[in-house]
């Protein structure tokens, strides 16, 4: 058969490029393969070879001559065939009969077929075309009639079916929210449902069933009108079905709408409240707090991710009243999107923050955070303990989050004396939303940071046998500002013609910069007034600056990056100022810092376009200011790539939780707000002794690539098959309070309101996974918990498994 032959030929064509010429010819010689080529093949001599012999001796197949649809058959052999109708519009599932004729005489005994691959609809050999039950993809097709190598075609447009409603379940409505099952016919995936002419949310089940979420309007008297509408092509509505609505409830409810969280409702019933009456919300009895002769007040908890409305009834021993629908107040953003932003801004599911974001929206929340004043740290508590407290209950958690982001690449190597860690953290929190130029200045003046890089006691050398110490100069550029290779504005490396990266600076710049940073001494060493709390070994670690000693400053000229000249004779302060300015203005700074900040807050592998958008803000905040971190942080968080995951995570989304993040997010979920200093040591057990970095290189490298892949994932540097096992042990210790310093929190939101495994898993899905917990994980948790009898252990196991899953280890 020509059809089979052609299909075979095309398949070969696809696999063997070397025979394209021949096979392409064969394919184009086969009219079936391409309807638009029909006229081109019409003129060829389609005379040889019947379909049954399959002769291909001439190299052309036995192509039937064709005609246009119902039109004149110009040069074909034999009589001109006409189809009637030549064009038909048919509803899905309907039939139409085609007739073939030539010279006014009916033609019988030809072959009917339907065009397309796959074939749309079907045709019987008596010419009866049966349209498919639904319209999918292209809404048109062609039928063919072939007789004696002559062909005629007719075209068909397919229309959506006309919907029809038979009945509903339930058949009567109340004032309550109801899931209505609609039975009928002609339903399609795009069918919509209206109630009294207004659209309501509906779900397609199959062609004879829809379900819809219905709340009758309060003005309803005795019935509502239901319709199903199918869209184009062939837009059509069902006849309306009138559904009776039972009488209004004999009580009123106050307030008239409620929000997520703890709520209280009062039902007032003119005919009186009897002593056995309680209030049920969506079928669950809530706790009565007071009753009076005509009213009853009760309180409950509404999971903040719920939307729509709740059914409220007065329930007595004799039965339930007619229900009333109590709408849930819509929020500015959904709980899931708010929870995701909280994961990016405040280290995880801090409940009060999520609810607040829901109410005020993302942009307002970020602006509020950017406008906060820095928290003060009391001197009566270890700074790291207080940091955890602020993150768990303070009002400026985005400051702490941003400060920690900077701590990872401008780390402090605080020593065992705990207070030594505070001055650098305070500086970062104070300047987190200021200029990056200020951060550079801080890094060059804070005693703790510079002490690990020997800025003090680096001095000018008049002795030819020694040279200035290069440590601070080199790492200031490599780690704190520019990186080792030149970058494009989208954060990718600039490559030379051989594909090699170009160094950002040479040893000459390192040497010159090492001479810039000479002549600085510890604050406190000469000063009379010191802050004794922060003074250790004569060094005041809280000082705003080092002390310059011009005698030890190298006053020669210096050249940086081969072009920035620092003239001879300048003071240590002048040299430092100009060198930091040169670094601040270096074109590598915006992409190097922007990409790191994106990685810390949103995702390890931002697209080059995302980086480039942030780099533009870093270069100019819109008011001509370079390095404005508040504009950069806001842009990073509100970028379309950052927010796309609110709807659906992408494959390259997310970052691996570093140990401190993992610990805090577990504490946020569990609502742990009261503890001693012990929790500050936990991340150190997983190689992240925060604020006490083992080296100037921090805890992980921004450019770390997962072994054996091309995936950039900085925090993965702390992941191996020992630390992952240990992380599980520690998480289990946090959840079960076996880990020193972590209390149980039965009063927390999660334990006080979600007391069964299924509701707990639902809560974890929203609080940790912003509604995107994989079904397989839900099943694993439910199955495991079902094997445990102790209800407390069941819930703890569910919490642990949700925290421990690597779908959550990667915050998306």
């Amino acid at each position: 058969m020509p059809l089979n032959y052609c299909l075979t030929a095309r398949r070969v064509h696809r696999f063997f490029g070397t025979v394209v010429m021949v096979l392409a010819f064969l394919a184009s010689g086969c009219g079936l393969s391409n309807p638009s080529s029909a006229s081109a093949t019409t003129g060829t001599s389609g005379t040889t070879g019947s379909g049954s012999t399959g002769s291909t001796s001439t190299g052309t197949t036995g192509t039937p001559g064709t005609t246009g649809s119902g039109s004149t058959g110009t040069s074909s052999v034999g009589p001109v065939i006409t189809l009637s109708p030549a064009f038909a519009m048919i509803r899905a599932g309907a039939t139409v009969i085609f007739h073939a004729s030539a010279a006014g005489q009916p033609l019988l005994l030809g072959t009917w077929s339907v065009d397309g691959s796959p074939v749309t609809g079907a045709i019987n050999q008596d010419g009866t075309y049966i349209a498919p039950s639904t319209v999918q993809g292209t809404a048109s097709t062609v039928v063919r009639f072939t007789k004696n190598n002559n062909l005629a075609t007719a075209s068909i447009s397919l229309l959506n079916p006309v919907p029809s409603i038979l009945s509903t379940l339930p058949s009567k409505l109340t004032w309550a929210k109801t899931i209505l099952i609609i039975r009928g016919s002609g339903f399609i995936a795009d069918s919509s449902v209206t109630l009294n002419g207004l659209h309501v949310a509906s779900t397609f089940v199959d062609s004879t069933h829809l379900s819809a979420s219905i709340t009758p309007p309060s003005s309803t008297t005795s019935s509502v009108s239901l319709q199903v509408i199918n869209p184009a092509p062939g837009t059509a509505s069902s006849d309306p079905l009138l559904i009776p609505v039972s009488g209004p409830p004999d009580f009123s409810v106050s307030p008239t709408e409620i929000s997520g969280g703890d709520f209280s409702v009062t039902l007032t019933r003119p005919s009186g409240i009897s002593s056995d009456m309680v209030i049920k919300v969506d079928g669950v009895t809530i706790r009565t707090s007071s009753t009076s002769p005509k009213s009853i007040t009760a309180s409950g908890y509404l999971a903040p991710w719920l939307t729509g409305s709740l059914n409220v009834v007065l329930s007595a021993s004799s039965g339930d009243s007619n229900p009333i629908a109590l709408p849930i107040t819509p929020t500015a953003v959904s709980y899931d999107a708010a929870a995701r932003l909280a994961a990016q801004t405040v280290f995880g599911p801090r409940e009060d923050v999520i609810v607040h974001i829901q109410q005020v929206g993302m942009k307002a929340f970020i602006n509020e955070q950017l406008a906060t004043t820095p928290d003060t740290y009391p001197l009566t508590e270890q700074p790291r303990t207080h940091f955890l407290r602020l993150v768990g209950s303070g009002n400026a958690a985005l400051r702490q989050r941003t400060a920690w982001a900077i701590q990872t690449f401008i780390p402090e190597q605080a020593f065992s004396w705990a207070m030594s860690a505070l001055p650098w953290e305070r500086l970062l929190e104070a300047h987190a939303f200021g200029s990056y130029r200020q951060i550079l200045n801080d890094a060059a003046t804070n005693p703790i940071v510079v002490s690990s890089l020997n800025l003090v006691p680096n001095n000018a050398s008049s002795d030819p046998t020694v040279h200035p110490n290069e440590n601070f100069a080199r790492e200031l550029m490599q780690l704190f500002s520019l990186g080792t290779v030149l970058l494009n504005e989208d954060g990718t490396p600039q490559l030379d013609s051989s594909g090699n990266p170009t160094p950002t600076y040479g040893q000459d710049t390192v040497v010159n910069l090492s001479r810039v940073f000479t002549g600085w001494e510890w604050p406190g060493s000469w000063e009379i007034v010191q802050d004794p709390v922060f003074t250790n070994g004569g060094v005041d670690y809280s000082a705003k600056d080092l002390m310059d000693n011009e005698f030890f400053h190298d006053r020669g000229a210096k050249v940086l990056f081969g072009k920035v000249l620092l003239p001879a004779g300048q003071t240590a302060t002048q040299d430092r100022q100009q060198a930091l300015d040169a670094i601040f203005m270096h074109p590598n700074l915006p992409p190097f810092i922007s990409r790191i900040l994106i990685q810390r807050l949103v995702k390890s592998q931002p697209s080059p376009a995302y980086v480039k958008r942030i780099v533009q803000i870093f270069k100019d905040n819109g008011s001509g200011v370079r390095g404005d971190l508040s504009a950069v942080i806001a842009a990073i968080l509100l970028d379309k790539e950052a927010r796309a995951g609110d709807v659906m995570n992408a494959a390259d989304d997310g970052f691996v939780q570093d140990p401190l993040y993992a610990q805090i997010s577990a504490m946020q979920l569990l609502g742990i707000k009261s503890y001693d200093d012990q929790p500050t040591y936990l991340a150190g057990l997983l190689n992240e002794n925060w604020w006490g970095s083992p080296s100037p290189f921090g805890y992980f490298s921004p450019s770390y690539v997962i072994p054996g892949t091309r995936l950039n994932s900085p925090e993965f540097q702390l992941i191996d098959n020992v630390t992952l096992v240990q992380r599980s042990q520690l998480l289990w210790g946090i959840v079960t309070a076996a880990q020193l310093g972590f209390p149980l929190t039965p009063e927390s939101t999660i334990y006080s309101h979600f007391t069964t495994v299924p509701t707990m898993v639902d809560a974890l899905n929203h609080m940790l996974y912003h509604g995107q917990m994989p079904e397989s994980l839900k099943v694993s948790i439910l199955t495991y918990c079902a094997s445990i009898s102790d209800p407390k252990l069941q819930l703890e196991s569910a919490v642990f498994l949700a925290l421990n899953s690597d779908d959550y280890t990667v915050i998306k």
């Binding site: 046998t465 110490n469 995570n649 080296s695 992941i719 020992v722 096992v725 042990q729």
Partner: protein, 439 residues
């Protein structure tokens, strides 16, 4: 073939059924019984110690020849070690004499008993290189960046970029490493990463404590399922976890298989070497006859107060290495295990103003044990002069005269890689006359 226990393991590893056979050695009694069947006599392992921060080779190996020592002392000024404090190395024939840093007691003893070699002035260069070439365009020489991260990357990859030389050697050894990966590492490093091989992490104690077997089982099951997550990072973390649940049990069983009596120091490095000795002793439990161990030992970034800092770090190194060879002697594996050192870079010969030294290039390293022909220095020690033919910037930054590739390829050869395999693992090898010869 006789289905010896080891062959069973190899079969398992090759055909992906290790998880089922591995159940055998979660039970130490089964493992002991099976060990009778076959023990590899062809066992070879290497231990690569990276001295993080950039060890100052100039004060690690010091010339004792009077004239050369005098030049050393005048150029090093306050950092010069007194000649009397150095441990003399036995010189062969008429060779110049050298001494080791006074902290390297055990290393010197190994050298003087001809069980250790010194590789002189070695560093990352892709081909024999002249000072003029470097001065013409330093950007063509990554080793000349003098950056910690690039120096480490150059050493541990043997001058490639995305895989480590340990991992690439291990790609060829994987069929002989038994139930765990051929690279057992106590630190995250590029060294460990092969084209297919990724390391199994080793820690000093056991990774397992509190979780019930049922909970461990569901963790493993969830991790296995998440290796096919649609998120790329989740896939990777889950893959590590899924393997961890199996490997860490196997390592615990191997490390506790045989008691090693030699005592080790309490430092993290010494304890890591102790763990490696225990794993060598328990190698039959894993079914391994080729293994690569990686460990880091730190404190060498001596920009200030170098004399005290380097001395403490070298003493820690020496103690761990000394105990390790005692332990190898105890279990009869001294000639089967070879130890070598790496570091970010050497340090400037000239001191800086803060009593320390800064980043430099060509350095000196040790290869110990493994039955290699010891008591010799491979290559030439650089002359003690600034601005000479080997000093690229006037403060004593040595241009390497031997490549990392030559040293590491020599070790690859010791492990049994064929010339073709060596050429594949060490792409720069063809640019040099030969790898160093250890026998």
């Amino acid at each position: 073939m006789t289905l010896s226990r080891r062959n069973v393991l190899k079969f398992g590893a090759q055909f992906g059924v290790a998880a089922s056979t591995s159940m055998l050695w979660f039970n130490p009694i089964s493992a002991r019984a099976l060990e009778q069947a076959s023990v590899g006599t062809d066992y070879k392992a290497i231990v690569v110690i990276t001295m993080t921060g950039g060890n100052d080779g100039n004060n690690t190996i010091v010339p004792l020849d009077a004239a050369e020592y005098a030049r050393y002392a005048s150029l090093r000024t306050s950092l010069a070690l007194p000649a009397s404090s150095l441990i003399p190395l036995a010189s062969v024939g008429g060779e110049a004499s050298f001494g080791l840093h006074p902290a390297l007691v055990n290393v010197a003893a190994l050298y003087n008993s001809r069980r250790a070699v010194i590789v002189a002035n070695i560093g990352p260069i892709a081909r024999p290189t002249t000072k003029a070439e470097v001065l013409a365009d330093y950007t063509k020489f990554p080793g000349a960046s003098l950056s910690h991260s690039i120096g480490i990357q150059q050493w541990e990859s043997a001058q490639t970029q995305t895989t480590g030389w340990g991992g690439r050697v291990a790609d060829y050894l994987a069929p002989r490493s038994g139930s765990v990966a051929p690279v057992l590492s106590s630190a995250n490093s590029l060294f460990n990463v092969g084209k297919s091989v990724q390391a199994t992490a080793v820690q000093n104690g056991s990774a397992f404590t509190a979780l019930s077997p049922a909970l461990n089982s569901v963790i493993a099951q969830i991790a296995q399922s998440e290796t096919s997550s649609n998120n790329l990072l989740t896939q990777q973390v889950a893959a590590v976890r899924a393997r961890a649940m199996r490997d860490q049990q196997a390592l615990d069983a191997a490390a506790s298989y045989r008691v090693v009596r030699t005592s080790f120091g309490t430092s993290k490095f010494s304890q890591s070497m102790k763990k490696i000795a225990a794993l060598v002793a328990g190698r039959s439990v894993l079914g391994a006859d080729r293994q690569i161990f990686y460990v880091q030992q730190g404190g060498y970034d001596t920009h200030v107060n170098q004399l005290a800092g380097q001395s403490g770090s070298l003493a820690d190194l020496d103690s761990g290495v000394g105990s390790f060879f005692s332990a190898l002697d105890e279990i009869g594996m001294s000639d089967n295990v070879l130890v070598c050192t790496h570091s970010d870079f050497c340090r400037t010969l000239q001191a800086n103003i803060t009593g320390g030294t800064d980043h430099a290039w060509g350095n000196h390293h040790f290869i110990l044990g493994g039955g290699s022909r010891g008591g010799r220095i491979i290559g030439e020690m650089p002359p003690m002069e600034l601005n000479g033919t080997l000093d690229v910037n006037g403060i004593g930054i040595w241009l390497p005269t031997q490549s990392v590739t030559q040293m590491t390829a020599g070790i690859g050869g010791w492990l049994g890689l064929s010339p073709a395999q060596l050429a594949d693992v060490f792409p720069d090898l063809r640019n040099f006359p030969s790898a160093i010869q250890l026998s």
